[in-house]
Symmetry: C2
């Protein structure tokens, strides 16, 4: 194995044998795909998606690929952009905790577009997806955390490598062409954390998906780039980071899989609040709690919780995601913390506001980031409490397949009929047996009632 | 005037009055456009252009816009990408010397695409072009040189701001929308110097043109970004540079024009060799020199000349551009140093090689960068010499309009018939009187002989 990281990744992608993909990695790829699809379909009519579509559709090419959860079709490149954008819009997509990359968006969106353009089997799709996530996360690990600390949104900057590698694999690029594809990816790496809080944040994985595919398409035509796009003196890692470790790219390449370290959010808000929500949901369920019965909610939390989500009186839905007080209140009242709990209506609902004002939070520096203590004083004098050592969704307590299905159903319910959701779930879980991966995105298109009746 | 640079630029672009554009700036815009068109048309069949076109055409949208010098038509976004790429392929485009940005490519390519999509008068086109170059060069000045020294190809990273501002102006964006457009530009800023020497170098202005237009199109639909894309804590200037001076963005905005500091290359190679070529051409012309008559060529040059172009025995055309010896030899033999003098054939031509071997160069640290001494010893014992204080093309000795026309004719000759070239020249010089700027790019399309005969 060479120690030149760009060449090593190109060799890995070109030479990888699909039969050597471990079955648990194949399964994790399907879990990631399911989560990606749910997030993208759920956000299909969000303003960010609708506005981007309105802006770009007049320039789009042939209707090659599906816009997930919508009737429109776009060329592969624009479909990749819109679908990856949609998947990150709720900030409810997956997280590679070692780099805080949201890995699936750029890779899955690019690959789904391509799968409607080229003949791609389900098994090859899954393999290319695993390779893309591997490249993306390893590039990210090589420059994390200095790269992120400078101000780069690593989901965008690393994502373009993943999309280039994955689509390059399906396009049948040679090792040399993959070196160029990674170079063309490197020179497009972009996305600033300054954009957090605006629609341009989810635009980053959208651009990464499209740009990575452009890189692979150019390389296929022998459009050249530098050969050391990652490690060159003026390459990605030297220009966009202050420290770098190429061993994190090359060590164990082909033996370990970053997908195995992927995580999924059970709740539609920042991960630091998840232990609190988890504890509230457990207590509500076990004790049949209602808001009226609750006198006070006392939380002990990691210091980051108040630093990042200490907003006492959120006024709009998005601000609710940055309020541990709102999150505890909706968890106790609604028994959920999905996208619906972070609407403008929900943060100003009188019952939610009333309970939110009875929540207090105290920092306990001894707590781990994925831990919290929830203590609830009831009006009848009882006290119930729960210590959450590892929140649901953490690597120590991953969401089960069933949890992911429930999340998927909730996200898709406003868009798709129940039987369509069931069909999509089946198609996801059985993807490696499907001779045509391109059939999958078409299942996300809502059928009009009339058409469905005659289908 | 606010001191927030993003807002200041947005205000400037939204509020600018075309009637206040000084006539000399209008003229300089047409000189820049002419030079841009010549470079792009001349490279229309270069491998970099042909391969990029082959890679992306299957995904292109409606045939809205001209590919300069070719019969194909693409959607505006892809046309902008290909045309800006073409314009930088020979590295023969313009240079804003204070930042070494090649300013016209990203801005002109984006605007020409848009001018075939929207109704745009010639006068509005020129005004938008001047605004785009102004934004691009001012953003560049704010971060130059640290930004370039880190490894960023400033033509790509600053170019995207220029394309966003210029197209945003023609799309009629409000000040607030222009703030978003500049933010979406900032978060796409990319392009690594590692790519120098590969096709991905000219790709940078191509991507800047397309990405800047995408930024403006998104902003028009109220797709939001951060409001301090340039100066924010994690914005462009803090993340992509180690030093920054926002006064260079805001000082004199609307009063001075960066286009006035634009320069054009008379010779198709790195600017450091230009004084030597200039001196050789002058001596050849005055003394009717032939290669056979020359015993030796002795050059005194600035230290950078040998550092950057000290290649004694270039083997391919591109390497010839990095050889002061080859450049002097072709200037003396061909009486020119255009793209034709840097072909693979020319660097291995026996007469060129023989004269090249009689060229010696000595460093003189006392010389200015745009100066050189050329001394030629003839076989008949005579010595002729010329001191060039400022090379042709420098700000002190700019190319005349006639020089630019000659360069344009030479670049276009392999692609267009003589009368088509004449028509294009007339259309450029009269652009401010043309009610339809979109007619201009269509004049660059080669007519088949049969069609021309019946036209």
């Amino acid at each position: 194995m060479t120690t030149q990281p760009t060449l090593a990744l190109a060799h890995f992608v070109a030479a990888a044998d699909p039969r050597r993909l471990p079955s648990e990695v194949c399964h994790e790829a399907k879990r990631a795909l399911l989560n990606f699809l749910g997030c993208a379909i759920g956000a299909a009519h969000h303003d960010a998606v609708t506005r981007a579509l309105a802006a770009l559709a007049p320039f789009a090419g042939p209707p090659q690929a599906t816009v997930l959860g919508r009737p429109e079709r776009l060329d592969c490149l624009h479909a990749a952009l819109i679908n990856a954008l949609a998947s990150h819009t709720f900030d409810f997509d997956d997280t590679h905790l070692a780099t805080i990359i949201h890995p699936s968006g750029p890779v899955a969106a690019a690959l789904l577009g391509l799968a409607e353009y080229l003949p791609v089997t389900g098994a090859d799709w899954i393999h290319a997806f695993a390779l893309g996530v591997e490249v993306e996360c390893r590039v990210g690990k090589a420059v994390y955390p200095s790269h992120y600390d400078i101000g780069w949104h690593i989901t965008g900057t690393a994502g373009v490598f993943g999309a280039a590698a994955a689509t390059g694999r399906l396009l049948g690029l040679s090792e040399g062409q993959l070196v160029w594809a990674l170079g063309i990816a490197a020179t497009q790496a972009s996305g600033l954390r300054e954009m957090f809080g605006s629609m341009s944040k989810p635009l980053h994985p959208g651009l990464a998906a499209r740009n990575g595919m452009v890189a692979a398409l150019l390389a296929r035509e022998n459009f050249t780039s530098a050969t050391e796009g990652i490690e060159g003196r003026r390459g990605f890692a030297n220009v966009l980071a202050t420290a770098r470790d190429y061993g994190r790219i090359t060590d164990g390449l082909g033996e370990t899989w970053e997908l195995s370290a992927n995580s999924y959010k059970p709740f539609a808000c920042g991960i630091v609040v998840h232990p609190v929500i988890d504890g509230c949901l457990q207590l509500r369920s076990e004790h049949q709690l209602t808001a009226d019965a609750i006198a006070a909610v006392e939380l002990s939390v990691h210091p980051l919780v108040l630093e990042l989500t200490g907003k006492k009186t959120p006024r709009v839905g998005l601000e609710g995601k940055f309020s541990v007080f709102h999150s505890a209140a909706v968890a106790l009242i609604d028994g959920a913390a999905g996208e619906a709990q972070y609407s403008d209506e929900r943060v100003s609902n009188p019952r939610v506001v009333a309970l939110r004002e009875r929540v207090v939070a105290t920092v306990d520096p001894a707590l781990a980031e994925d831990a919290a203590q929830v203590r609830i004083r009831l009006r009848d004098g009882r006290v119930v409490e729960r210590f959450v050592a590892h929140a649901l969704g953490s690597l120590a307590r991953p969401m089960t397949d069933r949890d992911l299905e429930d999340k998927f159903r909730t996200l898709c319910a406003p868009i798709l009929a129940a039987d369509a959701i069931d069909g999509l779930l089946r198609a996801c879980w059985q993807l490696e047996h499907n001779p045509d991966a391109g059939a999958l995105p078409r299942l996300t298109v809502p059928q009009r009632h009339g058409a469905a009746a005659f289908a």
